[in-house]
């Protein structure tokens, strides 16, 4: 059913509204039934009272066969209730004698004198029998089925003998206007209740639905992309929904962390594979390359009679082979050679080395370096890594950019963070950031980050890049041991 598939945003107010409407309608109906019963009882009471007084007044005239006086009493009684605007008035009053015939009626045109009640409708016949069988002057009530006709009968008894009776016939429809009046009143009240409750329900329903809908919207995207956390302002309470929100945000945190770790693992695995490939290729290239370089050298030393063309060719070969050696050398980062410990002076040197670039791009560098005396890490490699990262940062920051360098040591770890205020790195770039000959590199050889990565990894550390809209940060974290 479509009603069950609606969004909570609509479902809660609609269902709540329906419930409120149903409740007030039920109340209205039960009130109506109650009012109807009350009015009917009042009508019977009123008619019984009228009947009781009629019986007392009619008794002597029935006894003395005085039709005209009986008629005057009956019509006076009717006139009296009419003048009082009694809505419970009897429409017709019949006086019955002990032969079950009409002695007199308030409406003689329709109920002529001496008409047998047995010849009238069934309720009249039944009533006349009931009256003749009565023991006491108590009202007898009968309803004509399927109609609004109500008959209240009263026996006239003298000395245990039933002389006759009074039949008051009325229409329950007479109190319908009063019932309508009451109904109108309760409709007004119902309208008022609805006018108050429906907006409250609407507000409350929305209030409940909005956070759930927002949660649902957020959760729908889990899988294809990481949804953002839910703003606390949407629902800042500590009930179950509030707890779900909290749990959702914790879950998003964890998922983000997991996703981040996964990319990190993937990246380092890929980098390791590339590293292995590069190393083996470098070895494979280096061996014949060394032979070729030796051969070129030998040729130059031992054959002095070379034609100028050969001389130029050999020189060309030599330059080409050395370029290959350099490139292969750069790819094959070797961290194993000994170097002196890192000093604060090294950092200053690095800054001095890059200062021409800083000036060229009008970049502001803010350095915040705290280093103890002699950190046992190879200074040459650290310097190279720092130069690479700082030059990248200056380039990324662009004209008039700002670069921040922060170095600390903590628990035998060297922490370096380099920030720039350049453009955000796109995520596709982030994935291949450290790969050699990075096709995504805007400038340079695309080996700077590769080398830095290799240095960091070979020193047992790690490198991390985070990029937001305004700040891109590269952090290096390298452990060291004082025993070294």
């Amino acid at each position: 059913m479509w009603l069950f598939d609606l969004s909570l945003r609509h479902k809660l107010p609609i269902w709540g509204g329906l419930l409120i409407f149903l409740t007030s309608t039920t109340m209205f109906i039960s009130f109506g039934i109650q009012a109807y019963d009350d009015l009917k009882n009042d009508m019977i009471k009123s008619l019984s009272a009228q009947g009781r007084s009629l019986v007392i007044s009619l008794y002597p005239y029935l006894l003395h066969d005085n039709v005209w006086q009986a008629f005057e009493i009956v019509s006076a009684s009717k006139r009296l209730t009419y003048q009082k605007k009694n809505m419970f008035e009897s429409q017709v009053i019949l006086v019955m004698d002990n032969r079950k015939e009409i002695f007199v009626a308030s409406d003689p045109a329709n109920y002529p004198i001496q008409t047998s009640l047995n010849k009238l409708d069934r309720p009249f016949a039944k009533m006349s029998t009931a009256i003749m069988a009565a023991q006491r002057e108590e009202p007898i009530i009968m309803e004509r089925q399927g109609t609004d006709v109500l008959i209240v009968g009263f026996p006239i008894i003298a000395d245990d003998v039933v002389l006759g009776g009074v039949l008051m016939i009325t229409d329950k429809g007479l109190f319908i206007p009063r019932l309508m009046e009451l109904a109108q009143h309760s409709l007004l009240i119902m309208g008022f209740i609805l006018a108050v409750l429906l907006p409250i329900n609407w507000y409350w329903g929305r209030r409940m639905a909005v956070p759930l809908v927002s949660l649902s919207d957020h959760m729908q995207h889990i899988g294809d992309k990481m949804p953002p956390q839910i703003d606390h302002a949407v629902y800042d309470y500590r009930d179950e929904i509030g707890q779900i929100f909290k749990a959702f945000n914790v879950m998003i945190d964890q998922l983000e962390e997991k996703a981040y770790l996964e990319t990190q693992i993937l990246q380092s695995e890929r980098m390791a594979a590339i590293g292995r490939l590069t190393a083996s290729m470098a070895h494979e290239i280096n061996n014949p390359l060394a032979g070729m370089l030796t051969a070129v050298d030998t040729l130059r030393k031992h054959d002095t009679e070379l034609s100028p063309l050969t001389e130029r060719t050999i020189s060309l070969l030599d330059r080409g082979l050395r370029q290959i050696k350099d490139t292969v050398g750069t790819l094959l980062v070797e961290a194993k050679f000994k170097s002196r410990d890192l000093l604060e002076q090294d950092i200053e040197d690095v800054i001095t080395l890059i200062s021409p670039q800083l000036q060229k791009h009008h970049t502001k560098l803010h350095s915040d370096v705290v280093l103890p005396e002699g950190v046992p890490l190879p200074s040459t490699l650290i310097r190279q890594a720092l130069i690479n990262l700082l030059l990248n940062a200056v380039t990324a920051a662009g004209e008039q950019g700002a670069v921040e360098l922060k170095i600390r040591t903590e628990q035998n770890h060297l922490h370096v963070s380099i920030k720039n205020d350049g453009k955000e790195l796109p995520s596709e770039k982030m994935a291949y950031l450290y790969e050699p000959f990075n096709p995504l590199s805007d400038s340079g050889s695309g080996l700077g980050l590769w080398v830095t990565y290799q240095i960091t990894k070979q020193l047992g550390g790690n490198i991390e890049a985070r990029s937001t809209k305004n700040i891109t940060t590269f952090s290096i974290n390298i452990p060291y041991s004082n025993q070294l």
Binding site: D65, N66, V67, W68, F71, S75, P108, P112, I113, Q114
Partner: protein
Amino acid sequence: MMGKLSLFLIMCCSCLVMMPAAGDDQFSQTKPIRIGLTPALLNYQHSLNVIWQEHLQQQLQRPVEFVQRDTYSETMELLRQKKLDFAWICSYAFIKLGDAITLVAVPLYQGNTNYRSFLIVPSVDTTTRSIADIKGRIFAYADPLSNSGYLVPRYDLKMSGYDPDTFFKRTFFTWAHRKVIEAVANQVANGGAVDSYIWESLNVIEPELTGKTRIVSQSKEFSFAPFVANSTLSDIDLSTMQQILLKMPDTETGRLILDRLNLDGFILGTPQMYDSVAEMARAVGK
């Protein structure tokens, strides 16, 4: 005019009240004159009673008391017991009382002393052409001592060869002419006999009531209800009253009273004027 007529008609209704003598001090020493009123005449009309009483006291120089009773028979009984000096009674009662009373005067209505009995049916009944059509139905009489409201229809039935006691399925008395009209208008009865003077007067002031009735037939004329004196009354008292009644149109108060009674005046009558009523009474054997 309407108000006066209505007052008059009310007085024609059955009555319960006995009007005590609102005796002035100047007459308190003398024995009062007692005048009986029947449902055919003054009843309920307290303000008129007061004026008329005052008028009579001034003329007679004696206290006057009006005595009102519900039925003709009660008034007749008071006459027989000599508890009344004068009475205004129905013509049938006049016959019934015989020597116990003496005729004083006869009212003049519309220039003569006659009235009739009307046979009326509800106006919804459009088929009835004569009393014979109401056979086996319900009939309303005014009073068993009324001429127009009892004797006349019974006489007519008898003359037509019916037994008046079994002709109708049921009969009842309303004890006043006006109420016969009400009974027929409300269809309590299928027919009724009523005094023409009362029906016509009511037709002027309450046409919606008479409009619910239809006159089927009119009887021949009879002399109007007479003003009578107890036969034991002294001739002086009788003739004094006779003179007062006859001269009523000559005084302003007298004219006012007559106006409210819807009458022109009183004339001297003779007992022979009521012979036709006596004949009918004999014919129906009562």
